[in-house]
């Protein structure tokens, strides 16, 4: 991962509510627990939270109610001033600036989407979408055209003159999203933005946000209490519990290598097939055949590795096809020197970011493993049916150095993120 400057950088953020909050922070630093403070009427909402959000990343903070995630997101735009710690937005520590400068940061750099939409009921959809621009002092014509464009992006073209009350919940949140987009800030904070929506609408909105994010490259800090949502949306996820961040990592890292029992218990119920991707469960093929090599080499490799098939790759590791043991055996008996006519290409391939759930049909229909290829057709790995089944059980997380598809697969993970880097 290249060392780019973080869009949001939280450094040891503490937020304590109650009298003598500063002193309470000192005590927390020297080991006092949240419960001890509670006995004295102090509420430690956020304890020692540090994280970076990279530009154009969807960073999810996941925690149950009371875990401090709402307080934490409000510290990012200064709606809630942390008791101690630094919050750097594009390098500026907003805990140190005047209220006037803080308002400027909110106008120009950070917009927010709210759980209950927070649309102004007495203003039209168009006026609501243009609100951020109005605060910025943008002229009417310009803000109207930008608001219209933002509404178009979220699929609400033609609703400008309606009132928010005339819209369904999902549509209202689209207006909330359009308001944040129209403001034109690089950073968007989303506070349980989809939690108040029906499950189906929520799915739709999640997809739309991911789509918009890849189009517009916004940096998104997303708060949720729904683990599945966190896993679906997040490039990286921070798990919060009792005011502390207990783990930060990708969905797969959290799923496969939980930092503690709490996280492990939490992720136990996750639908792994939706979170795990082809890239994270695939295995390095035991052997591959160079396209310039002949049937004899193929025959030897198959015997050595006890394979019924071999994938054929070019010098640049692009996948050319597959040869089967029965064909090779015939060719060797016939004394042929080249692979001409032996390489089959009538099989499906999958990109590494395919969810495991979507692999089953392809895997079940074939008796050869499923090859995982990058956009440039390079062979990244293969997924055998047995690998697929293993991925579903907790054995994936437990097995150490057991030829597990996950362990030691940093190469595959980086290949995965690398390909994302190309598209982003």
């Amino acid at each position: 991962m290249p060392a780019t400057e973080a869009a949001i950088e939280a450094r040891e953020i503490f937020k304590v509510f109650g009298r003598g909050a500063e002193r309470a922070v000192e005590r927390l630093k020297s080991g006092a627990t949240r419960e001890e403070l509670r006995g004295e009427g102090l509420t430690a909402a956020v304890i020692d939270a540090s994280f970076d959000v990279r530009p154009a990343e969807i960073f999810v903070v996941m925690g149950l109610s009371g875990s401090g995630k709402s307080t934490l997101i409000r510290a990012v735009n200064g709606l809630m001033e942390p008791t101690s710690g630094e919050m750097l937005i594009g390098g500026t520590d907003i805990t140190k600036v005047s209220t006037k400068e803080l308002r400027a940061v909110r106008r120009e750099k950070i917009s927010m989407v709210f759980q209950h939409f927070a649309l102004f009921p007495h203003r039209t959809v168009g006026e609501n979408a243009a609100y951020g621009l109005r605060v910025q002092g943008v002229a009417r014509d310009e803000r109207e055209s930008k608001a219209t464009h933002a509404l178009e992006l979220v699929g609400l073209k033609g609703w400008e003159d309606s009132l928010p009350g005339q819209l369904s919940g999902g549509m209202r949140q689209r207006v909330g999203l359009a308001r944040a987009l129209a403001a034109g800030t690089d950073i968007m904070l989303m506070d349980e933005a989809f939690s108040a929506l029906d499950p189906l609408i929520r799915r739709e909105m999640q997809d739309q946000l991911i789509e918009l994010q890849s189009q517009l490259g916004k940096t998104i800090l997303f708060i949720t209490h729904d683990l599945n949502e966190a896993m679906r949306m997040g490039d990286r996820i921070a798990m919060m519990r009792d005011g502390r961040i207990v783990q930060i990592g990708s969905a797969e890292q959290i799923l496969n290598d939980p930092a503690n029992d709490y996280v492990a218990q939490f992720v136990a119920d996750v639908d792994r097939t939706r979170v795990l991707t082809a890239g994270s469960v695939m295995e390095k093929p035991a052997a591959v055949l160079g396209s310039e090599q002949g049937p004899r080499v193929a025959h030897r490799l198959m015997r050595e590795h006890q394979l019924d098939e071999l994938f054929v790759v070019g010098r640049d590791r692009t996948l050319r096809g597959v040869v089967l043991e029965s064909d090779i055996a015939d060719a060797v008996r016939a004394g042929r020197d080249t692979l001409d006519g032996l390489v089959r290409t009538d099989f499906p391939t999958v990109p590494p970011d395919t969810a495991v759930a979507d692999l089953f049909l392809d895997a079940a229909e074939r008796d050869i493993p499923l090859p995982v290829v990058a956009e440039n057709q390079r062979l990244l790995g293969v997924i055998a049916t047995v690998t697929l089944l293993n991925a579903l059980g907790s054995r994936v997380a437990d097995s150490e150095g057991n030829g597990s598809p996950i362990n030691g697969d940093a190469r595959l993970v980086s290949a995965h993120t690398g390909s994302n880097g190309v598209t982003a």
């Binding site: 735009n77 709606l79 308002r103 400027a104 940061v105 909110r106 106008r107 120009e108 950070i110 917009s111 927010m112 709210f114 759980q115 209950h116 927070a118 649309l119 102004f120 009921p121 007495h122 203003r123 609100y131 951020g132 605060v135 910025q136 009132l163 009350g165 005339q166 819209l167 369904s168 308001r179 403001a183 904070l189």
Partner: protein, 295 residues
């Protein structure tokens, strides 16, 4: 028990202190009192002269038109019939004088009440101070402050206006505070999150969203102002209070009822009209539009 004995709890001369205070104000703030008196009296005279300058029938048409615009045909019919009844009882001039008094006192009451209500909504301390003062103003028997008002401003319309303002202001303050406190905190947060200045949050978000409640306060202020008509009449403020007070002293049942009926007609008219005004606020219109959409 002995600690209830008069010997143990000393007598506190609160009454004396108050009358000393009244004396002191009269002696030292006469200039200020005169200024207040002049302003209120001329405002009231100007308005009542203006209202009476319009021929009664023309005024009926104007009021009916107002009723039609702000409310609808039912109130229009009521206004025409009601105002003609007032005229037929020969209380027209008194009714216009009362209308002027209610408009002047109600407007001043709201001009004071809205900022106080906003202050109370924004500061817990201010709220705690203002609340008992409002209780005091609302429950202290009117005659108690009518007396010092008489000392300060002598007999006439001014003590009537002052008493009316004191009595009618509290719901204006309370409902303004309530309205602003009731505004969804997420709305205010949304304003802040987009970098809105505090003054704009007040004028563009909180006050518009609180408007239906503030208008309910205006309505209450007007109704309470009307209920002070007779007491105002007692100190010589004129209007419908004068003939009613006269009827009471003369035990003239018929005259009293007729005057009372005129007050009621005026009250219903003003109540419906001010409610109609509240319905025209942006929030009220939006919620009606929403109700029509069936969501």
């Amino acid at each position: 028990m002995s600690f209830l004995d008069e010997g143990i709890i000393p007598q506190i001369p609160i009454g004396n202190w108050f009358s000393d205070l009244v004396d002191w104000v009269q002696d030292n703030l006469q200039g200020l009192l005169d200024l207040i008196s002049t302003v209120l009296e001329s405002l009231n005279d100007w308005l009542s002269t203006g209202l009476n300058a319009v021929p009664a029938l023309v005024m009926v048409v104007i009021l009916a038109a107002l009723a039609f615009v702000l409310r609808g045909w039912q109130l229009t019919v009521f206004t025409i019939v009601g105002m003609l009844v007032i005229q037929s009882m020969r209380y027209w001039k008194d009714a216009m004088d009362t209308l002027a008094l209610v408009i002047v006192s109600g407007s001043i009451a709201m001009i004071i009440a809205i900022p106080l209500g906003i202050l109370a909504a924004r500061s817990g301390v201010a709220s705690k101070v203002i609340k008992p003062v409002m209780d005091f103003m609302q429950t202290l028997p009117a005659f108690v402050y009518l007396l010092p008002a008489l000392f300060f401003f002598s007999v006439g319309v001014v003590p009537g206006i002052i008493a009316t303002i004191i009595f009618s202001m509290p719901p204006g303050v309370r409902l303004t505070e309530l309205g602003i406190r009731q505004v969804d905190s997420e709305m205010v947060e949304a304003g802040q999150a987009f970098g809105t200045a505090p003054s704009s949050i007040l004028t563009r978000i909180q006050i518009p969203l609180a408007m239906p409640t503030i208008m309910a306060g205006v309505n209450q202020v007007i109704m309470l102002a009307l209920s002070m008509v007779v007491i105002a009449g007692m100190v010589g403020a004129g209007g419908l209070g004068a003939p009613i007070y006269g009827a009471i002293t003369q035990l003239n049942v018929g005259k009293g009822f007729a005057g009372g009926l005129a007050v009621v007609i005026l009250a219903i008219f003003l109540d419906r009209l001010s409610a109609g005004l509240g319905d025209r606020s942006a929030v009220a219109r939006a919620s009606r539009a929403t109700a029509r959409a069936g969501r």
